[in-house]
Symmetry: C2
Subunit: 185 residues, 2 copies
């Protein structure tokens, strides 16, 4: 998702100015014509850990970034939906799989890229899935089959680590984790 | 925060078109000149329950919406910060109070207004606070003093209910709650 720079007011088309509005302490894109401040805020990516019996469903990415690497189904939350609905929708789109979510299991903050992840635990309603348009492949993996060296994102690696660790311990606990640095691969 | 309608590309100033891009299933604001899709996504509001001894710090809102009603300190998450940092910053801005956060305690989804709340448990480092520019008053309230009928938002009412309920039970558990309908007062 390329980030556009704000030069023009999206509402009226006049030039915007980057300035600190009265009573604020951050630079904002301001339209003097509309008297509007155009705020920019972090985005939420929502996904899940879809489970069938003792296996977890992963998708091989058909798109950049990290094309060819494996991920849990997840994507940008849309207007008008909840984080849970976004997770279910993304799983349907990327893995053509129907899940029922359990609880919100993990929240990750990635301030260097202005993203917050919400990851749910979920179960596949039936062992049926296939590659959505954004996936090259979709497969169920047992713990000893997880392609740890070919995971697309640190958020997914941590989600899977938490999941298998908690499953072994016999109880799942909510996690909130900050990932401060870019993942280097 | 007024919501601007997108008519013009913020990058180049040309007219945008509302259309469903190839491979997508939602209408987006598209700039044919820049070949850019301008996505819009829900926003995060982050805040905390600041506690000193057995009391909770609330702020009386000096701004709309819900001017004159009481709220936990919270506000829109900024680019480059974590939900936890946003909660601490908002408490400093609205209540001029310094807090140390405990865990992420509640997540609320409000899909009808495209908002997700993240609320932390927190402790005041010292019992010092005063009204920031967005507050008319800031006060500590014991449980039996909470102005339940003068709370600004359902998210704050629920956060306080969860907090006092869990405190009584002797252990705090993470909550994730959807608020589907607008609060009517």
């Amino acid at each position: 998702m390329p980030k556009s720079v704000m030069n023009y007011c999206p509402q009226c088309g006049n030039k915007t100015e980057s300035k600190i509005p009265d009573g604020d302490n951050c630079y904002r894109d301001v339209c003097e014509a509309c008297d509007l401040i155009h705020y920019q805020n972090p985005r939420i990516i929502s996904g899940c850990i879809p489970v069938w019996e003792d296996k977890v469903l992963l998708c091989k990415r058909a798109i950049q970034p990290r094309k060819g690497l494996w991920t849990l189904p997840a994507g940008f939350m849309e207007l008008g939906e909840t984080t849970e609905q976004a997770a279910v929708r993304e799983t349907l789109e990327e893995a053509e799989a129907v899940v029922k979510t359990n609880e919100l299991y993990a929240v990750f903050n990635l301030p260097h890229i202005d993203q917050v992840y919400t990851i749910y635990r979920a179960v596949l309603l039936k062992p049926e899935f296939s590659s959505g348009i954004e996936s090259l492949d979709v497969q169920l993996f047992a713990e000893n089959e997880i392609p740890w060296d070919e995971l697309a994102f640190e958020t997914m690696q941590l989600s899977l680590e938490y999941y298998f660790q908690d499953r072994k311990a016999g109880s799942f606990k909510f996690r909130s984790t900050d990932i401060e640095k870019p993942t280097v691969r």
